[in-house]
Amino acid sequence: MSAPVSPIRPPLIEGHKSYHDITNDLVSPTERAPDKSWFIAFLLSVTVLGFGIFCILWTIWHGIGTWNLNRTIGWGWDITNFVWWIGIGHAGTLISAILLLFRQKWRTGVNRAAEAMTIFAVMCAGLFPLIHMGRIWMAMFIFPYPNTRGPLWPNFNSPLLWDVFAISTYFTVSLLFWYTGLVPDFATVRDRAKGIRRKVYNFLSFGWTGSAKHWQRWEALSLVLAGIATPLVLSVHTIVSFDFATSVIPGWHTTIFPPYFVAGAIFSGFAMVQTLMIITRKILNLQEYITIEHIESMNKVIVATGMIVGVAYLTELFISWYSGYIYEQFAFFNRALGPYYWSYFGMMFCNVVSPLFFFSKKLRRNIKFTFFMSILINIGMWFERFVIIATTLARDYLPSSWSFYVPTWVEIGIYVGTFGLFFTLYLLFVRVAPVVAIAEVKSILKTAGDQYVGPNAIHSHHHDDHDDDHGHSVPAHDDDHSYQEANQAGATSTATHAAATKTGIIEDDLTKIEGIGPKISQTLKDAGIYTFASLQQSKVEDIQRILDKAEGNFMGNNPESWPIQAKLAAEGLWAELDQLKDKLDGGRIA
């Protein structure tokens, strides 16, 4: 853990946590019985989910006619909600994959929950295209498999089919990434549990032991998955934007859509992470792990992506005017001043104006304000999708087919129901799994814990290589070497007493002498001193000369006691040698 840490980096783990404290704090929410507020939230979510399921069944039973879609407006709330949820699902993989590649340590506090959020959001999103099909039992037609219809294949040139591949791949990869990260933490939960609970978590932890080779592979896997999930996360919303951009509808047919959709997705995803984490950290008492620094970092991402979205909106406006194409110009005129003007201005305010408040450091670090903003941004991003989809479709080429659209209770019910699904799953997740990645937080403790960095640090960084207990006993840098040598001398002393080398010369393990480490031992052997007996007969001045000639800084090593120690070792008087060592200070006669 001797990675260089900038002194200006604020700590990411507060409260002077030890490894055991981290385990206790992060596992305990899964160990205690849920409190009343959890039950209330869970019941509410399940009720809302139940209503959503009812509305979905209603749609399937009666048909899409229960929605207010019409010949002009073929995509309404359903696709708006689909794109909105998919966008929210982007923050998880962004945090876990892209920020892993960028070595952003703050991701460890929020990645687990954000990835869970991604998976649940993608589930909510995936529902909409499925029920939008109308005859959901025909859903398998979207998959390319040798069938009895010819075989007739799906259209691989269609962005709608690309979406099927992109979203199912995204869901699968996110799930694998998330679960692989969870396995070591489930093992932590398992090893604290007893009885049936232990059996359950043993199953979930896949028999994880924490072996060094497994960790190495686990890290390699995480890194490569992050590497391929990064273009994946960018591709998913790019392909979602192709659903629109490859059409010939004015207002949709623009090349700016992919980057603008991706930025918007990250923008809304981070807003949703803020909403969830601000509640979660409060209820589960995780303020020391999800600190104000995490919140501020995410707010910085929000202001950056919010500005990208803002620039995209303005570029779209400019290009539509500059194109000289009247249908395109009308589409944008209609968005801003048509029948749905309120959604356009809602979008502009929530997504372009409001994030600018985050240029103020004070507001970035204000939790209540952040929470309020996160809700506002999610409303704004929902408006954005509604503007693009329903507003644009409502005024098409022929004024005779212009239309207006308001959702029915069924459409509203399905949308609300997806919140039920999302929060039901999230609340279950909070009960079952550690919300913060335990192993990953532990791995940054030495570089981001507040006892190591920041104003409350109590450990110095210059002696990072040392034991914290002994680090203070080493006053000057020159002494470091002898200290280490001495330490290693103790450490290696159990090695075989005498070992035959390849050349057949009998060697003693000289490192048993206090003050001699592996390096000095090698130096002495190079000079012809192989055994305790020959060391015993050497004069102190001669040993000193060998050390002086040798490469390496052995200046701090004083060999005055080595012949005396060697005499005891040669005679096999180990107990006496140990007594002598106790009196010595780093090999010196005290």
């Binding site: 692989t180 060094a212 791995s443 290696t492």
Partner: protein, 172 residues
């Protein structure tokens, strides 16, 4: 997996102690059976002499298989099996195949790598591996010696010299 083995292990409380002890064991030519830690310890792999994981090579191969499957599959379907003209484009419209080729590549690479990871590590649903100590997934770090390679006595003195606690013998 395979035969049971008897190991002697000791626990350390800090990864720096662990690293020092691993170094000491290596310089003393004591063969380490395994090291266990609650999180990946940086700098451990080179000291322990672990070779770099080849998982990424496997991932590359799976990814290529995925990309080829998708691309060749779409090519066969749209040029041989059931050619259809969409929007006046050629049957073999390569640019339109790119998104699905990419997604399938990522899908194959990630599923393949994850499955390979669990298989080579001997992990998976329903697998129960004997663990040395319950604190090893919490705050302790362990070095384990196979008693065939290192006698229990020399291991014990090694552990006492390097400041390990809870020295114990266990059959894995």
């Amino acid at each position: 997996m395979g035969k049971t083995k008897e190991v002697v292990y000791g626990l350390y409380s800090d990864e720096q102690d662990l690293l020092k002890a691993v170094k000491a064991a290596k310089s003393g030519h004591m063969e380490i059976h395994d090291v266990f830690s609650p999180f990946p310890v940086h700098g451990l792999d080179p000291i322990l002499g672990l070779e770099e994981s080849r998982l990424h090579i496997a991932g590359f191969i799976y990814g290529m298989i995925g990309a080829l499957t998708a691309f060749l599959g779409m090519t066969w379907i749209f040029t041989k099996d059931w050619p259809i003209i969409f929007g006046g484009k050629p049957y073999w419209s390569v640019p339109a195949f790119i998104p699905i080729t990419f997604e399938t590549m990522v899908l194959f690479a990630s599923i393949g790598m994850v499955v390979t990871f669990y298989i080579v590590c001997g992990l998976g649903p329903g697998v129960t591996n004997e663990t040395l100590h319950d604190r090893l997934t919490d705050d302790k770090f362990a070095i384990a010696f196979n008693t065939h390679d290192v006698t229990v006595d020399s291991a014990k003195s090694f552990f006492s010299q390097t400041g390990a606690s809870d020295v114990n013998v266990k059959v894995l």
